[in-house]
């Protein structure tokens, strides 16, 4: 589903990715590990289409509407409520039965009680849960997750783990704690 050949990305004079080779097959669950600044986030952004490679080839066999991207930032509007945020993304991703789906997501990740509170009042952990709701809202075929367990408490982490366990689709996950996902993972690459 993802194929990268000789992939390089440069920001000005700084070379972040250099000649990367990667293959993520359909249904694969690949972990990307490496220290800070090794290019994990950059790789995910390239796969999501938010950045263009400096050189090399990158094929991502999924349309935009089938990609679920969990970034460092939660990508939610602080002045909108949790429900309004999901509703906006629901509209943009053309989700059927939007209202029910948004409600189900919020409930699944323990945010139903806070659905009418502004996202700006959420704690770090709740924001991460909301971001996870946003990511899975449209049932994506390809998951691109950047440190998904960051900021989650034990209960939130369990919810996410269950969701990932049942999810059959392809995933590329950047993490600095590969042991937690080792069972689920089908492959692992390390960036320097």
């Amino acid at each position: 589903m993802i194929r990268a050949r000789e992939l390089s990305k440069r920001f000005g004079d700084k070379r972040v990715l250099d000649g990367l080779e990667l293959e993520v097959p359909q249904g694969g669950f690949v972990l990307v590990t490496g220290p800070n600044g090794s290019g994990k986030t950059t790789l995910l952004r390239l796969c999501a289409g938010l950045a263009a490679p400096t050189s090399g080839e990158l094929d991502v066999d999924a349309p935009r509407g089938a990609i679920g991207f969990l970034a460092h930032e939660p990508l939610v509007y602080r002045e909108l409520t949790a429900l309004e945020n999901l509703d906006l993304y629901g509209r943009l991703y053309r989700i059927r039965e939007r209202r029910e789906r948004c409600g189900a997501m919020l409930e699944r990740f323990g945010l139903w009680r806070s659905r009418n509170e502004r996202a700006g009042t959420f704690s770090r952990g709740m924001l991460q849960r909301l971001a996870i709701c946003r990511t899975f809202l449209h049932d994506p075929d390809l998951l691109l997750l950047d440190e998904p367990f960051d900021g989650l408490d034990a209960e939130g982490a369990k919810m996410l783990y269950l969701k990932l366990a049942e999810h059959g689709s392809t995933a590329l996950v950047a993490t600095h704690d590969p042991k937690s996902l080792a069972i689920r993972a089908t492959a692992r690459i390390g960036l320097a």
Partner: protein
């Protein structure tokens, strides 16, 4: 509603809702334009012509618009949210249309205060002036939204947006002042319409390239 129109509606609604909640841009624009008109009164000699006063009104409108435009992508910029919109399967130009509608709404609301204030402080308005202001709003919002996205990618965005915007605003001021004072406002109004059409199409088509890599 067709997909594109639905996206635009969702995005425009989002912007107006955000402004309603945070209430930071519109009150600033209103206060700014009334303050500017007050300053102009003191800057003009007591026997100044109606034309000079009209000219200053247009300056006030352009700079109030700039004030509003600097905040146009503020919510997206602050939390990296533009990524979220760009990731969505909708056409990127729909983001531009939604934002432009929002900017036009802000401008109109600001002018609902500014124009009566001007009539109060200086002299009464003609319908040609109001028509020119309406047409100018469209052009200003169209290029302003695109330029705000360009400036957002730079290091000095508050400085860059006025620099990018003002040369493009000169024809608008020419058209606007001309329509307000000339004997044949029709040609100036026609010119403003042409400006709007040309630059709206260009902005609509090129927005995609400005928010993606």
């Amino acid at each position: 509603m067709s997909g594109y129109a639905a996206d635009v509606a969702a995005l425009a609604r989002k912007d107006l809702l955000l402004e309603l909640r945070s209430r930071d841009t519109l009150p600033a624009m209103l206060l700014f334009v009334v303050s500017a008109l007050t300053v102009f009164h003191f800057a003009l000699p007591p026997d100044s012509s109606a034309r000079a006063e009209t000219g200053l009104l247009w300056i006030a409108i352009v700079f109030t618009a700039l004030l509003g435009l600097t905040r146009a992508f503020a919510p997206e910029r602050e939390d990296g949210l533009l990524d979220g919109l760009v990731l969505a399967p909708c056409d990127r130009s729909a983001i531009w249309v939604g934002k432009t509608i929002g900017v036009i709404a802000f401008l109109v609301l600001a002018e609902l205060v500014a124009l009566p204030a001007f009539a109060l402080f200086f002299h009464s308005l003609s319908w040609e002036l109001v028509a020119a202001v309406a047409l100018a709003d469209i052009g200003i919002a169209a290029i302003g939204t695109l330029l705000a996205a360009i400036a957002a990618a730079s290091r000095a965005r508050e400085l860059l947006l006025p620099l990018l915007f003002l040369p493009l605003a000169i024809p608008v001021v020419i058209g606007g002042v001309g329509a307000s004072v000339a004997a044949n406002p029709g040609s100036f109004l026609g010119f403003l319409g042409l400006y709007d059409a040309v630059f709206a199409i260009l902005s609509w088509a090129s927005f995609e390239y400005v928010v993606t890599e």
